[in-house]
Structure formats: structure tokens, C-alpha cells
Symmetry: C2
Subunit: 297 residues, 2 copies
Amino acid sequence: MFDLNSYLVSKSNYINKSLDEILHDRLSSSRIVSAMKYSLMAGGKRIRPVLCIAAAEAVGGKADEVLPAACAIEMIHTYSLIHDDLPAIDNDDFRRGKPTCHVAFDEATAILAGDALLTLAFQILSSVELKNENYASKWLSVVNAISHAAGYQGMIEGQMRDVASEGVMLMTLNELEEMHSLKTGAIIEASIYCGATIGNGGIEQMKQLGIYAKNIGLAFQVADDILNVEGDPDIMGKAVGTDKNRKKSTYPSIVGINKSRKFAEKLAGNALQALDGFDNRSDPLRAIAGYIVERKK
Amino acid sequence: MFDLNSYLVSKSNYINKSLDEILHDRLSSSRIVSAMKYSLMAGGKRIRPVLCIAAAEAVGGKADEVLPAACAIEMIHTYSLIHDDLPAIDNDDFRRGKPTCHVAFDEATAILAGDALLTLAFQILSSVELKNENYASKWLSVVNAISHAAGYQGMIEGQMRDVASEGVMLMTLNELEEMHSLKTGAIIEASIYCGATIGNGGIEQMKQLGIYAKNIGLAFQVADDILNVEGDPDIMGKAVGTDKNRKKSTYPSIVGINKSRKFAEKLAGNALQALDGFDNRSDPLRAIAGYIVERKK
């Protein structure tokens, strides 16, 4: 029987160790590196890098091969949180139970630390040891997938729409889904795509993993919306009810909490189905699909 | 006789056309793309991308081959200006004679437009048509050089030191030089390195171009400091005297205006000397060395 909890702990430790090593260098006394470390090591769930590694393993690849991609993706996720938390955007003072970067340091440092993490992600992706030349074009396609997902055609456009929609609460279900697909879905899909690409997945495997990714990406967001209504702030390390206070459109606000829960379960079911042709090396991905809708934080 | 002015106009037009095409897509009605375009097309000198192209040509390469690198570098330069102008950092309302991005749009949009330009730079660098696999590893090394120069070991660390030094005016000449080398030198060196790499420069050529780059990078900054003292705000499109008002350490504040001018000339001379072994295809680089210290804006 596959134990997801041990898997998540072991992979998180593996990722944390690598992230720590990347920033452990001669400049570690600098304020910018302190701020980068502060936010990067603030105890995130590491769900994106774990998905990247799990996707590689599902197609027979090795964790250490995809580790640079996994770390780069977590850096991009962290940068997006630092910038979203800024006073000019979401103005959040706490994240994961700790003061946000601009509170712990200052606003200028937080802006630049976010920039630095985004830039470092691409430095990591391009610093891989090239075993062979075919490997170089694969990593270039990883850079492309991640920059596309994180940029103005993905995560940033999603964040723009999220900011614009605040206080309006007039989104249709389609608009909400499109926003989430841009804001959080694209980078989750890229995590899985990159893991499977470096892990040498076949065409049909890539296609099914794409379906898996699309479904858990959306399920992740629906679950997030539900947690913002009925989650436990002590477990989550952040306030709940904030979506409602900000008059943000969410799944619960549009279709109600029960339909939202059913929708999340249906999405997780679709994700599982996409893995039908995979062997037990995809057990982590299967378990994560369930975890995403059942998690408490 | 080589005519630098025609060269700069023709290369700038070439770069502007490409930048315009990159952002001319289906999402062009979105607010984030409008903000990206606004700052990217605000009439910069395009000195970094021109250097990238000129370095490629100096070693026998072609402008169209290095164009993606040239455009990516200009995007990174523009993002850094957008973020530096933010209220939390330099709080500048005007740039190149136009309202800065956060004034023309809003602060959230300016933060995200900067992020988007930085991310798009890497998307462009990884979207090149791969003629062969050797080409893939070259572009990966370009991604690496640019991310290194733009990140916490380069431009961002330079900006951190610049922010920290404001109002203090206690820098030594060495500290000032190190700050400039990080803040503006690293990305100028990367521009030239990337052009010469894609242009297939030889080892000795790369070495000499590295010396050229180091010298004009510093000369550029010394000239900037001088212009901030005695430039014409109408020609420059921005205020002068701001360094003094902000009590920033500059070359003129440390060694005086005359010694600063002589130092800039000496650096330009060093840069020219590094090109001694090159043929007339490096004439643009030679002329740029002179232009950098004599420019009026």
C-alpha cells in the first residue's frame, strides 16, 4: 500500500535540501539572499515540485534528473507569492503563518527578492550538466514551457484578472475557470510536463499526463476556494473568509459549497482515469489527486 | 568612413520592429500587454541589444541569428527600469520624458508588467528555431549568462546596494565601482558575450570582447553620473541633479567632474585597444565606445 504522507515528507525534504544548497553560497550574507531564503524556506507544501518529480517517476525517469526543474518551479511559485502579497496587489501581512516578505524586510527588498527568485529559476534550468546534446534541447523546451506558463499568457494574466475582479463578484463560471487555469493551472501543468519531458515520457503518456494535470490543477483551486470558506486558520497558517470579505468570485460563491465539493471530486476522478494506462510507478500521482481535494491546508 | 548614427538608427529600427512583433498577438487588448508595450516602446536607446548585434557581427555572425537574444536583453533592461521606478524603490514619475509605468497604469500593473517582461525574455530565448543540437546548448548558455547577469549575483544585487547607499554618500571608489559593475556592467557584458557566442566567436575573440565589455560597461556608468550633473534635461527627457539631491555616491561626488571625464575617456581607450586584433567588422563596437562617453542622453 502506497503511503502518500511518507512520500510527501521524503520528497519535500529532498527538494528543501536542494533549494537550501542553491542559496548557500558566498553571497549568503547579503540582504537580498536573506529575503529570498526567508520566503523560499517558509514551509510551503512543495506540491508543484513534487508533481514534477512524480511525473518523471511515472514515466520511468529519475528524481535527481528533474530536480533542477522541480526547484526552479518552486522558486517561481515563491516569487509569485511574494509579489502577490505586496501592498499594491493583495496587501497580505501573513503567509504560511509568518510575516510576508515585505513585512519581514521592506517593500523594495520584497520586489527585488521576487525578481531574483524568478531570475534564479532560469539560471538553475540552464545550469544543468549536459549529458548529451539531445539533452540541451530538452532543457530549452523546459525553459520555454515554464516561461510560457509563468508569463503574460499564463500566471501573470491570471493574477491581473484576479486583481481586476476583486470587489466585483460578477464572474461567470467560465470566466472563473479561465482565470484559475491561467493563474494556477498553467504552472501546475508545466510542472508535470517538464517532469515527464526530462523523464523521457512517450507521446501517449504525455497526452494522458496533460489531462491529469489539467484536472488536478483546477481541482486544486476549487479545493482552495472551499478551504477559504471552511478551513481551519490554525492549520492553514493564514486567515479564512478573505475571499468573501474581498468580494471575490469563487466556486462556492457561484455554485455553492456542496456543488463545489462534488466538482472537485469529479475532477480528481477524471485525473485518476487519465492514469489508467500507467503502472504502479504512477501511484504517487494517483494519491496526490486524492490529497489535493481532501487536504486541510 | 563608418557612420555610427545611421548604424544606431537602422539597428534600433530593426530591434523595435522585432519587439513590436513579439507583443503583437491575440492578447494585445489585455491591460498587462498594454503596460508591457508602453514601457518597452517608450523610446530607449537600445544600446544593450545594439551591442549584442554588433558583437555578433564583429566575429562574423549575423544580426538575425542573435535577434532573440538582443530582444530578450532589452526586455530585461525595461523590466528593471519599471521596477526601479516604483514608489517603494526610486519613486520616479518620469522616464524618457513620459510618465513611468506605475503612473500611466497603476502600481500592481507595473509590478506585474515588469515580471511579465522578465519572464517573456526567457520565453523568447527558448523559442529559437533549433538548427541543430549544438545550437541548443549555445542558447542554453545564453539563458545562463543572461540570468546570471540579471539576478542576485548581478543586476539585482547592484540595485540593492544602490538603494542602501542612497542618502549615505559614504561609498569608496571601489565600492562604487563594484556596485556599477553589478548593476549595469554585468548585463552589458552579457549582451556582448551572448552576441559573440551565437555569432561563433573564437576563444581569443571572446576574451578580448570581455575586456571591451568590462571597460565600456563602466564607462557607460561614469558618463551617466556626469550627465546627471551637467546634462540637459530637455535632451535627456529626465531630471538632472537627482543624484546630488538623493545624496548618492557618484564618480563626480567622489573624484570630481574633471577626473570623472578623464576616467571615462581612459576606459573607452582600453575598450578600443581590446579590439586591436579585429577587422573592420568591429567598427560599430569601436564607434560605440566613443559614443558612450560623448553622448548627451
